[in-house]
Amino acid sequence: MILETAGVAILVAMGAALARTLLGPTVYDRILAVNSFGTKTVLLIALLGAFAGRADYLDIALLYALINFIAMVAMMNYSRNSKLSRDDEAQS
C-alpha cells in the first residue's frame, strides 16, 4: 500500500517538474526541470524494483542516474558552444 502511495507522490512531483519544463521561461529553467525529472525517474525505477521484489532494477536506476549526469554535462557543453543562450538574455 505504501509503495503505491509513494509511486503516486513521485508521479505528482514529476508532473510539477514537467509543468516547469513547459513553463520555462528560460532555457536553464527547462534544463533544471529535466534534471530534476531525471532524479525522480531514478527514484521511480528503484520503487518499481521494490514493487517487483527484484534488485536487478537497481542497476537500471544506477544507470539512469549516470545517464542523467552525462546528459547534463553534455547539455552544458552544447549551450556554451551555441547560440542557445541568446534567448535568455532577451527574457531575463
Partner: protein, 102 residues
C-alpha cells in the same frame, strides 16, 4: 505490521511528502536561481529518505547496498550538475531581476 516495516513506511512517506513539497517549490519560486534550491531539496533529503525507506523494504540484502550506492552516486553528481548549470547560466549573463545584489 512489524517495527521495521513501520520504519520503512515512515521513511517512504516522509520522502514522498518532501518530493511533493519540492515540486511545489519548483513551481512557486519566482526565478531560476531560487528554483535551484528547490531542486536541491529533491536531490538530497527527499531522495535520501526515499531510498532509505526502500532499503528497509529490501531488508539486509545486496539490494539495499545498491540503493546506498545510488544515493552516494546522486550525492556526487547532482551538486556537480547543479553547479555546472548555474555557472553556465551566470556566464551567459542570466541575472536575477531582483534588487539586493552584493
Amino acid at each position: 505490521m512489524s517495527i521495521s516495516h513501520a520504519l520503512a513506511v515512515l521513511l517512504l512517506s516522509l520522502g514522498s511528502g518532501l518530493l511533493i513539497v519540492a515540486g511545489i517549490g519548483l513551481l512557486r519560486f519566482p526565478h531560476f536561481y531560487t528554483r535551484l534550491h528547490a531542486a536541491g531539496v529533491i536531490d538530497t533529503l527527499a531522495a535520501g529518505l526515499f531510498l532509505a525507506g526502500l532499503a528497509w523494504w529490501f531488508g539486509p540484502t545486496l539490494g539495499s547496498v545498491k540503493l546506498l550506492l545510488i544515493f552516494v552516486f546522486l550525492l556526487f553528481t547532482s551538486p556537480t550538475a547543479c553547479h555546472a548549470l548555474a555557472a553556465t547560466a551566470w556566464a551567459s549573463g542570466l541575472r536575477e531581476p531582483a534588487q539586493n545584489k552584493e
